[in-house]
């Protein structure tokens, strides 16, 4: 261990950059090669926007909640939620790719690299976050063509929020991926992580509406970090900072990232404890 630490100190920032760009490049390649993945990442929220929002158009417009200054159509309300949904799926999908890499043995290439494990994992997270941000902007363009009105500056101010939310959801996916041993188990992730996180949040309906129908669900929504990712994005889209959401998302990002680093640490991680996968 001590010898590796010594070697690690030997790396220059330039070398770190080469390593980071390699990982980002690989993620970008994977992203561009898998057109279906991009299309499906775009189609999913658009189905919600075109079909679900059309049916729910009339339910909103009854109350003004921050950050909105006036009544908004449902398609405007649901847009930040769908942006976060893209990032949620992307985070989980990159966790799927971790499992895939581990099964196929590609991950060994990554993990035997002499760079610190934490650096490798964070690089991987940065890469997947960048991909998710691209997907979100692609969605925003279509939503805008569809007539969803957003403040022009919001396109810019939402970027840091997207970066943070994307990183948090990616880190969550990475933490989960350490616990998934086979690709087939991804369906479980869909059932037990993506759907509950998405539905029990402020993505589809404002929390005051949830509170009216069920205080229990409301509490669950309040405890769901995804709610705060949605609200962080929603406020940022209107050039405002929701400090509570920012604190929660930043805090959970640290927790999930540390958890993932710990889980992937060969000496202490969950993988080692369970006898380890092929990676």
């Amino acid at each position: 261990m001590s010898s590796t630490v010594a070697t690690r100190r030997g790396f220059t920032p330039g070398q770190y950059l080469i390593c980071l760009s390699g990982i980002v490049w690989r993620e970008a390649l994977r992203f561009t090669r898998q057109r279906e993945r991009f299309v499906s990442a775009l189609v999913r929220p658009l189905v919600w926007l075109f079909i679900f929002a059309a049916g729910f158009r009339q339910i909103l417009g009854v109350s003004i909640i921050p950050p909105y200054q006036t009544y908004v159509l449902y398609e405007v309300y649901v847009t930040p939620g769908l942006m976060a949904m893209i990032q949620l799926f992307n985070g989980m999908q990159s966790s799927l790719s971790m499992v895939y890499d581990r099964e196929m043995g590609n991950m060994r290439m990554l993990l035997v690299s002499p760079f610190p494990r934490a650096f490798l994992l964070i690089s991987k997270l940065l890469a997947s976050t960048a991909v998710s941000v691209l997907q979100v902007y692609a969605y925003l363009v279509v939503a805008w063509l569809w007539g969803v009105d957003l403040p022009p500056w919001g396109w810019l101010t939402v970027l840091p929020a997207l970066a943070l939310a994307g990183f948090m959801l990616g880190a969550l996916g990475m933490l989960l991926s350490s616990a998934i041993r086979q690709l087939e188990n991804f369906a479980g992730v869909m059932n037990f992580v993506i759907f509950p996180m998405f539905f029990a949040s402020s993505a589809l309906y404002p929390l005051w509406l949830v509170e009216q129908s069920s205080p229990v669900v409301y509490t669950i929504c309040r405890l769901n970090p995804f709610t705060y990712a949605v609200e962080l994005i929603r406020f940022a889209l209107y050039m405002e900072i929701d400090w509570v959401s920012l604190a929660v998302v930043a805090g959970m990002t640290v927790v999930f990232t540390l958890g993932a680093i710990l889980a992937y640490d060969p000496s202490r991680g969950l993988i080692a404890r369970r006898g380890g996968g092929p990676g």
Partner: protein, 327 residues
């Protein structure tokens, strides 16, 4: 399905936003709150109510004198029109409106008021200076909407039961023509150049464009809002943009304001505002259109250039009418 395609790129909008200076105004809006028996004074800079003036019972129709010094408010259940001094913000007098005045029109010079007397099928003309009724003109059953031509020669009055727009010649004080319109005509408005009169029909769900010289209907405008039943569309308030290029029509329980292009007579956009949007008023600079939303107790502010609702401001209960100070 309506898919509005936007020609501009977001980057272009960003630049546009950079170049556009923030709108500077210090207008005051006055809103009648039918259920609270008050008038809310709204500072349009602060976008908030700064004062509430107690008035008579069931205040509805409202107008401000051209010099901005006096405000006229129908106190329907007190059978009078109250005069409010805008400086002291107090009721300083009454006008003899006749029973149950709902709404009225103020002559462009501010010297006369034309009041609909719903129960008497009459239009009462009141001289503001002497505070006396100077004439009464019989019109259709249940007179409602009133509009005065920009040259102050013709007054248009709609009758809710007769379903007509009556053209009254001010010189002879007689109805010179009556034009049949769809059921329950409510609002009437002259184009700023006086070339057209637009009349809204609450139950007909349409807006009728009338040539005020030939007294003929030239266009009828229909509305459809995606996802709304046709009977939810009840046009009431009508207001023109300053340059006459656009008309704004409040669609009542449809919670929308329709924006109509006056050249093509086509609806350009439906803007979501609060519930039961009733009447409208334009700020004197022509930049903002205000709407009263009765059931959500607020006033929505529409940016006329962008055709976007920028803010909804809470006022009293059941806001009915709105007037904006000229300064």
């Amino acid at each position: 399905m309506q898919v509005p395609m936007k020609p501009l790129l977001p980057a272009a909008s960003l630049i546009a936003l950079l170049l556009a200076a923030p709108a500077a105004h210090a207008y005051t809006a006055y809103v009648t709150n039918e259920r609270d028996n008050t008038v809310s004074v709204v500072d349009l800079d602060k976008q908030a109510v700064v004062k509430t003036i107690p008035v008579g019972q069931r205040p509805r129709g409202i107008a401000i004198a051209p010099d901005g010094k006096q405000l006229f408010v129908c106190a329907s259940d007190d059978d009078t029109i109250e005069i409010i001094d805008t400086k002291t913000e107090k009721v300083v007098g009454d006008l003899p409106s006749g029973p149950d005045p709902e709404t009225f029109a103020l002559a462009p010079d501010g010297k006369q008021l034309y009041v609909s007397n719903e129960n008497d099928a009459m239009v009462t003309i009141i001289d503001v200076a002497s505070r006396k009724a100077i004439d009464q003109i019989p019109t259709g059953v249940e007179p409602e909407g009133m509009a005065v031509s920009p040259d102050n020669k013709v007054v248009v009055n709609t009758s809710e039961t007769t379903n007509m727009a009556h053209f009254i010649d001010f010189a002879t004080k007689k109805v010179v023509a009556s034009v049949l319109v769809p059921p329950r005509p409510r609002g009437a408005a002259f184009k700023n150049d006086g070339s057209e009169v637009w009349v809204s029909s609450e139950l007909g769900g349409t807006v009728t464009v009338i040539d005020p010289v030939a007294h003929k209907v030239t266009h009828t405008i229909h509305f459809t809002v995606q996802g709304l039943r046709a009977d939810a569309i009840q046009p009431v308030g009508i207001a023109f943009s300053k340059d006459d290029s656009l008309v704004f029509v409040a669609l009542g329980p449809a919670n929308r304001v329709a924006v109509i292009d006056t050249k093509t007579y086509a609806v350009k956009k439906y803007l979501l505002v609060g519930q039961r949007v009733w009447h409208l008023a334009l700020t004197p600079d022509g930049k903002e259109m205000l709407t009263t939303n009765g059931l959500t107790n607020d006033v929505s502010v529409i940016d006329v250039a962008d055709l976007k609702v920028t803010k909804s401001i809470q006022v009293g209960r059941l806001p009915w009418g709105v007037a904006v100070s000229p300064q």
